[in-house]
């Protein structure tokens, strides 16, 4: 600034004849000072009133409405986000309970299956046992029968032999007693 001013003053001093012609700086000529101040005050105050009464409220209104819109949108977005999070939680909860239920169902069905299998098994085992018992009793019967039959066969054979050898019939009761005695000896 100072440099500019000094250059300027030196220039002015070196052109003294010009200054003489123009009577120096027009700024310092008071002829139109009143006019300039007057028109400045008139024009400046009129645009001041226009700006403060019309334009600034308009600009402020525009900026405020934009900010309001943005704030509202952000609020709405946060509400939506909250809702979404709530829904997600609900969903998680549902999934969790469903999983627990599924586990329960699997457990129960396995249990019932096992139980019914057990029952069936027992039934089958019982049947098998019965069959075995039946078979055993039959075998026992058969055994007893076969023992008796062998006794009778032995008696017959013995009487036949004796008849063939001795040519006479023996007393049946005595023979059967002897046979049973010998058979007891074998049995043991």
């Amino acid at each position: 600034m100072n440099k500019i001013l000094s250059v300027f003053t030196i220039w002015i001093l070196s052109n003294k004849n010009l200054i003489a012609a123009e009577a120096g700086m027009p700024q310092l000529d008071p002829t139109y000072w009143a006019s300039q101040a007057f028109w400045l005050i008139i024009i400046f105050s009129s645009i001041y009133f226009l700006i403060s009464k019309i334009f600034i409220p308009k600009i402020k209104n525009s900026i405020d409405s934009r900010e309001n819109k943005i704030r509202k949108d952000i609020e709405e977005a946060s509400v939506l986000k909250e809702n979404a999070e709530k829904k997600l939680k609900e969903y998680d909860h549902l999934i969790k309970t469903a999983k627990i239920e599924a586990k329960k169902i699997i457990f129960e069905s396995r249990k019932t299956l096992n139980e019914s299998m057990e029952v069936k098994k027992k039934q089958i085992e019982k049947e098998i046992e019965k069959e075995i018992q039946n078979a055993e009793s039959e075998i026992e019967k058969f055994k007893i029968n076969s023992v008796h039959k062998t006794g009778v066969i032995a008696e017959e054979i013995a009487s036949n032999l004796i008849e063939n050898i001795f040519g006479e019939e023996l007393n049946k009761s005595s023979m059967s007693a002897t046979i049973s005695e010998t058979m007891k000896g074998y049995k043991n």
Partner: protein
């Protein structure tokens, strides 16, 4: 005419002579350029506020950026209490800015290069701020001349310095703008004259200077409008929040 760099600052009458109580208040070229700046501002603001779109149009965006810029400047320097003076600072800044910028056009007249114009602004601001200070703080406003935390021996000197600096506010405020505008425009004119006088051979150097200076002057035009507005904010801050 073209040879005298001061010629551009001449004020001359346009139209009839208007006189009130013997004071000449005729419409001059200075008044014409003030009016032109005012009309330009109004046209700009009319177009800037015509639409109220959520996504602003270009001119709407400029007006809103300007609003936010000045609003931030005021709240940064003078705090929340300065809110009622926002329209004044806004008008002041935009008016000085447009006047300076119109002055950058060739053959135009720079309103703010006249001391009487800047002095009118500065004296109005000075008186307004002083009245505001006394209205808000009463006689406590005189504390502005007595900074706290100064040794008692230095206090009289400091107080005198503070009073002088306070009283020189309108002078410094007005001369800063006026001298900047005048010096810049004179420089441009001088270099322009050199281009002619040095002719086709030597005229290229001052021409490049001229181009560079034009860029600088546009910067100065913005900067001085900003400085004027921000100093007004600082003076306003002194009156609103008594810090001393």
């Amino acid at each position: 005419m073209a040879t005298n760099p001061m010629h551009q600052f001449n004020v001359h009458k346009i139209g009839p002579e208007i006189e009130i109580n013997g004071i000449d208040i005729s419409f001059t070229n200075a008044s014409f350029f003030m009016l032109l700046s005012a009309l330009l501002i109004i046209v700009f603001l009319v177009f800037g506020t015509r639409e109220k779109k959520l996504v602003p149009t270009k001119i709407q965006l400029i007006s809103e950026v300007l609003y936010n810029f000045i609003s931030k400047m005021i709240s940064d320097t003078a705090g929340k209490k300065a809110k009622p003076y926002f329209p004044f600072i806004f008008t002041l800044f935009i008016f000085i800015l447009i006047c300076n910028m119109i002055g950058m056009l060739p053959y135009s007249f720079t309103v703010t290069s006249h001391i009487i114009v800047t002095l009118t602004f500065a004296i109005f601001i000075f008186i307004g701020v002083t009245i505001l200070g006394f209205v808000i703080h009463g006689f406590k406003y005189l504390k502005i001349f007595v900074p706290s935390g100064v040794p008692i021996l230095l206090l009289p000197i400091i107080t005198i310095i503070e009073i002088i600096s306070y009283l020189s506010r309108p002078v410094s405020l007005s001369v800063r703008l006026f001298a900047n505008m005048m010096a810049g425009h004179t420089m441009l004119k001088v270099f322009g004259g050199f281009v002619i006088s040095l002719g086709l051979i030597g005229g290229w150097l001052p021409l490049t200077f001229s181009v560079a200076l034009t860029g600088l002057e546009i910067l100065v035009a913005f900067l001085q409008a900003y400085v004027f507005a921000i100093l007004t904010c600082i003076y306003l801050n002194d009156a609103l929040n008594l810090h001393h």
